[in-house]
Every structure is written in structure tokens, then in C-alpha cells.
């Protein structure tokens, strides 16, 4: 059992399922609107609001509120800090997968 994964090695801000989905979506788009994220990820308003606030407070995303005509428009994008945190998070996932692969040979 070399290099066991310790829970604390995983970034809890990114790891939560809804936030992970948000960050993963923003990582491949320059920015997304609140409604785009909500529809693409099947989220409720409240769920997306709460989790985007946590990401914003961590400095991982920027939330910008503006108007499109008279309709409020909320857009989100990943910050450099968020992008770096996600890269570190992906490296941790890779460690988990490498570790698991090593165990495949003797699994039954």
C-alpha cells in the first residue's frame, strides 16, 4: 500500500460534486452564463447560486452581473487561481487512478 491517498490531499472546495461540475465546465469555456451552467448541469437556481458563491469566496471564479437589455445577465469564469487549483486537483485524481491501476493486477 504505497502512497496512500489521504483525504486532506483533495481540495474540498473543488471536490464537492456540483462545484466540480461547475469548475470542469468553466475550465473548457472562457466564460458561461448562469443559465448556461444551470441548464447544462441540470442544477436549480439555489444550488448553482450557493455553490458558485463558495467558489467565488475561494477566489476560484469571478461572477459578473450585468444587463442584457433589461434582463440581468450573470456570467462566471475561472480565475487563474481557480485554474491552478483545478490543475492540482486533476493531478490528485491522476494519483488516485495510478494507485488504483497498480492494484488491478491482483484484484479478483
Amino acid at each position: 500500500m504505497t502512497e496512500p491517498l489521504k483525504p486532506d490531499a483533495i481540495d474540498a472546495v473543488i471536490h464537492e460534486r456540483v462545484r466540480l461540475a461547475i469548475v470542469a465546465a468553466l475550465a473548457v469555456s472562457p466564460e458561461l452564463t448562469f443559465n448556461e451552467l444551470k441548464e447544462t448541469l441540470d442544477l436549480t437556481d439555489g444550488n448553482l447560486s450557493a455553490h458558485s458563491r463558495t467558489l467565488e469566496e475561494a477566489g476560484y471564479i469571478v461572477v459578473q452581473k450585468s444587463f442584457q437589455g433589461r434582463r440581468p445577465l450573470t456570467t462566471m469564469r475561472l480565475t487563474l487561481k481557480g485554474r491552478n487549483a483545478f490543475a492540482r486537483y486533476l493531478a490528485t485524481l491522476r494519483r488516485i487512478m495510478d494507485h488504483a491501476d497498480r492494484g488491478t493486477a491482483d484484484s479478483s
Copy 2:
């Protein structure tokens, strides 16, 4: 933004950080004792007890209590169901990483 990750695609039982660490450790060992897991993963008794119960209730691990001399000995191992769930979970992680890799080219 092809194939976005939806939160529900991630197995919540395995995804939680402590449980993920437990399952990842058990995936590469035939079985581990309570104390081995506790020490390897830096967990408290309460933390390990609570999360192993959740894994047991999901049918992902088997917890066996016996005695070594007069001392109680608790061992845990992954069930076939747990092993399959972890394999599916790893496939989801792979999707997340593949999706993120596709975004790397145009990230700044």
C-alpha cells in the same frame, strides 16, 4: 462544451473524501484492519467508523469483527459490488480528466 459532467454522474457514496480514501486503500489490499486504515489515512476513530458504516450500508465493504487474543479486531474489505462501483467511479474520473484535457489547448 461537449459531454459536460453532471453532478449526479458521480457516485456520492464513494466521492466523499474520507470514503474515497478508504475505498482506494481497500482496492489495493485484500483487507485492512480498522487501525491500519486509521493510521494510514490519518483518521479519527469516529470519522472512520461513520464513513465505513456508510460504505457498509451501501454494500461496498464488509466489516468483520473478531478477536485477536482478547483484543477486538475489526477488518474491512471491498465487496464485488464495491469494487465494481469503484471501477465505474474511476471511469467517471477519467471522463473528467479527458474533458479537461480537451480544454487545455485554448486555456491561457
